[in-house]
Amino acid sequence: MMNQGLKWMVLLGFAGLMGWGMWGLPDRGDLDAPMNEKTTITGTPTPAAHYIEHAYKEAKTPNIVTVVLGDYRSIDTLGEVLVVFTAGLILILLLTNRRKISALDGGDS
């Protein structure tokens, strides 16, 4: 078990580190941030600009987020569905009440 002082140190260290890192991030809403440009520094296309520009042309769907979710990054969404499915299976595994079921099978309900 970690003692209290160590926990505070970890917490403050985390806050300081994150604060320092966040200070170096591009400003919120900055139009010149790398993620809002059309290409990255090395000249490869950034996904976000491609999505905004081509989503409607390529899938005839106005909602860009839906296209990204369902088409461009569809394996992510498949993973997401599998996560939910896994959670359901886990709850079956952990909490199916065997005692209650065997009581029902025995007939005294």
Binding site: K60, N63, V67, L78, A87, L91
Partner: protein
């Protein structure tokens, strides 16, 4: 569920609300192409309508809407719709996994094939999410062993 009591007011209120929530959930799924929304959000709303009845009336009445036994198969079907769409495109269309252009629907331009593909998988996501959330609630409700 330590103690259950029946109140006609909560029951009536829940019964009045549940169909509208379900309707709204379906709207959110099927209108996800044009406005914020989509499979997950709609599935969560569908689950909310079922769970509202579960909370208000106990599982006996509400299992008429969605019985405990169907949630697992429904989740499997939801995943299967999504996964099957991808597989169909891969095996019949000869394209990559989940490339909706390969879907075997005749007479559709690639753009509308994508449009349709997204719609199909959103329905799958909605079903799977609804089933899983209801399943989680059900298991949580009857999983506790009292002395």
């Amino acid at each position: 569920m330590k103690r259950s009591f029946e109140s006609p007011i909560t029951l009536l209120g829940a019964r009045a609300l549940a169909p509208f929530i379900m309707m709204f959930g379906l709207y959110v799924i099927f209108h996800g192409h044009y406005s914020p929304g989509g499979g997950f959000q709609g599935g969560a709303l569908l689950a909310a309508s079922v769970l509202l009845m579960r909370v208000a009336s106990g599982s006996k009445t509400s299992s008429l809407i969605l019985s405990n036994a169907v949630t697992t198969p429904m989740g499997v079907v939801g995943v299967l719709i999504y996964f099957g769409t991808g597989l169909l495109a891969m095996f019949l269309g000869g394209s990559n996994f989940l490339d909706y252009e390969g879907l075997p629907i005749p007479g559709m331009s690639p753009y509308y094939l994508r449009y349709t593909g997204i719609l199909i998988i959103e329905v799958g996501v909605g079903l799977a999410v609804m089933a899983a959330l209801v399943l989680i609630y059900d298991k949580m409700a009857d999983g506790e062993v009292s002395q």
